[in-house]
Amino acid sequence: MNTQALLDPKWTPRQRESFLEELFLTNSFADLQVAVQGFLERQLSCQVTLLLHHPVGRLTLFESQTGPTMERRLVLEGLPDWQNHIWLADSLKRPVGAHLLFPVSDREDSEKVYLLLEGREIPTQESLAHLQAVLKAVSDSLLVRRRLDDASEQWASTFDFMPDPVLVVREDHTLLRSNRGGQDSLVKCYEVFGEIKPCDDCPLGRGERGQISTPRGQFLVHSSRLLMSEDSDLYIHHYQDRTKERQLYSQLVQSQKMAAVGLLAGSIAHELSNPLTGIKALVESILLELPNNQPIASDFREIREAAIRSQEIIQNLLAFAFPGQERPEETFDPLEVINKTLPLLKVQLRGVHVLLPVLEGRLLVKGSRSGFQQVIFNLIQNASQVMKSQGTISVEVEPDVEFVKIKVSDTGGGVPDSHQDRIFEPFFTTKESGEGTGLGLSVSSQMMTDMGGALKFLGNNTAGAVFEITMRRSPT
C-alpha cells in the first residue's frame, strides 16, 4: 500500500482521514500497523514501535502494537525517565537503548497512542512537527480501529456465548458464520442440523420464522435479513430448541388421547356388554336343550367360549376406563385362588408346566379375591402366550411378617430391554392384534395398588421374565 501519499502536503486532513479509512477497511489491522510502522521508520530513520495506552476496566493496558501485550499500570509523561526505561525493556522483553516516547494523540480520551522511537539518532520532538498531522490521523485511526475491534470482539463473544445456535447464511443456504463452528469449509446451514437438503419449513428468504424438525432436534427458526453486501442477501438465523417442549407437548397429547380412548372404550364396552351377555346366555340355553353328543353342540360351545373371551376383554377395558372400582376386602388363600384359576387357562397352558409351591399350613392375605384372580390370570396368560405353549411357569411364595411376595417367572426369554419401561403402559402390547388389548398389566398393576399391594416387574433371569406380586398378609 502506498503510505507515502500520506505525506503529500497538498492533502487536506479530511483527505488524509479518508485515505487512512480506506486503508483500514481494506487491510488487516496487523498489515496496517506494519505499513504505518514502515512508513514512519523510513521517515524518521529509526526503530518505531506503536504503543497503545487504554484502560480495561480499572486497569490500564499498554499494548505494543508490534510486540507482546503489556499489562501494567503506568502513566507515561512523554519524556523517558529511568523508570519508564526499565518498564519498557521489561514489557517489550528486549533491551531498550536511547529512546523517545512520543505522545501522538492529543485527545482527551483515556486511550492514547505513543510512538516509541529508538535508534542512534533519535529525532527530537520538534523534528517530528511536520509529521504531526499524519501521526494524529494515524493515531485516531488506530484508536477507532481498536474500538471497532473491541466492539466486534464483544459481539463475537456474545454471539459465540449464546446457547442457541445462531447462523449467518447466504440465500443459497451457505453458512458464513456460526456460533457452532463448522464455518471453515463450505457447509450448508441444514448440514449443521444433520440434514442433506434444506429443512422443510425453512424460513430463509420466505418469512420471519419456521419450525424445523431435524435429526438434531426440533427448532423454531427466526430469520432476519442482514443488509451487509449488495450482491447476495445475507440472513441471520436464530434457532430455538423446541425438542423438549415438543416432547412434553406430545406426551400431553398422548395422555389426553389416552383419556379419550379410555372413555370411548368404556362406553363401547358398556354397550357391547349387554348383547354379549345375551349371546352367551342364549347359547347356554340352546346347549341345555341339545344332547351333548349332537355335533352342533360343540359349535355352540365355541360360540360360548368366544363370548366369554370378549367379555373378559370388555371387563379389562372397563377396569381401565373406570379405575378405582371399589372391591370389597376379603381374606383369602392366594394359592387356593391360583389353583382355581389354572383350569380357566387350560387351553393356553397346554404344553406348559406350572410349578406351584407347597406350603406348610395356610397362608392368608388381604385384598380382593377376584382382583387377585384377574392379576394371576393375566400374568399366567401372558407367560403362556410368550412361551408359545412350551416351557415352565414357576410360582414362588415368600411370606414375610407383614407382606407376602408371590413371584411368577417363566421361561419365555424375558422382556426386551427396550420394552421394560413400557410394559405397564396402557395399550402397550407386543401381541398380535386380537390376542391382547395391552391393558392386562396396567390394569393388574392398578388393581394391586388399589388393594394395598403392588405388582412389579423384577427383571429377567436367564430363562425369562420375573414378576412379583406383593400383598398384605393376614394373620391365620
Partner: protein, 119 residues
C-alpha cells in the same frame, strides 16, 4: 310358575325365556317397561325379572307403578338386572334378587330364580 321377563336386549330376553320355558315355567316377555306393566296388571306373575334400564319405563318405575295400582306386589318376587352396581334409587324397590350382568352360567341363573320362588 308364571314368570314375567322385561328386557330390551333381545338375546338376553330370549335366552331367559328359552331356559325357563325349557324347565317348565310359563314365561311372558316384554321389551319395554310399559308393556311389562300392562302384562303385570293382567295377572300378577310369581316372579318378575326386570332390567333396570328399560325403554319407556325403567324396571324400578314399573314396580312402583304396580304397587300404586294394585296396592301391593307381595305375591310377586322381584328380580332386578343391571350391568351397573346397585344404587339407592333401587333400594326402595327392595328386589328379592339382584342379577349382575354379565351373568354367570344361565343354569345358575335359572337355579337362583327357582330357589327364590321356593324360598
Amino acid at each position: 310358575m308364571k314368570i314375567l321377563i322385561a328386557e330390551d336386549e333381545p338375546l338376553i330376553r330370549r335366552s331367559l325365556d328359552r331356559a325357563l320355558t325349557k324347565v317348565g315355567h310359563q314365561v311372558l316377555t316384554a321389551q319395554d317397561g310399559e308393556l311389562a306393566l300392562e302384562l303385570w296388571k293382567q295377572g300378577p306373575p310369581d316372579v318378575a325379572i326386570l332390567d333396570v334400564l328399560l325403554p319407556k319405563m325403567t324396571g324400578p318405575e314399573v314396580v312402583l307403578a304396580v304397587r300404586q295400582a294394585l296396592g301391593s306386589v307381595s305375591s310377586t318376587r322381584i328380580v332386578l338386572m343391571t350391568a351397573y352396581a346397585s344404587s339407592e334409587e333401587w333400594s326402595e324397590i327392595r328386589p328379592d334378587l339382584f342379577l349382575k350382568k354379565p351373568f354367570e352360567d344361565i343354569l345358575t341363573v335359572v337355579r337362583r330364580i327357582e330357589e327364590l320362588h321356593r324360598g
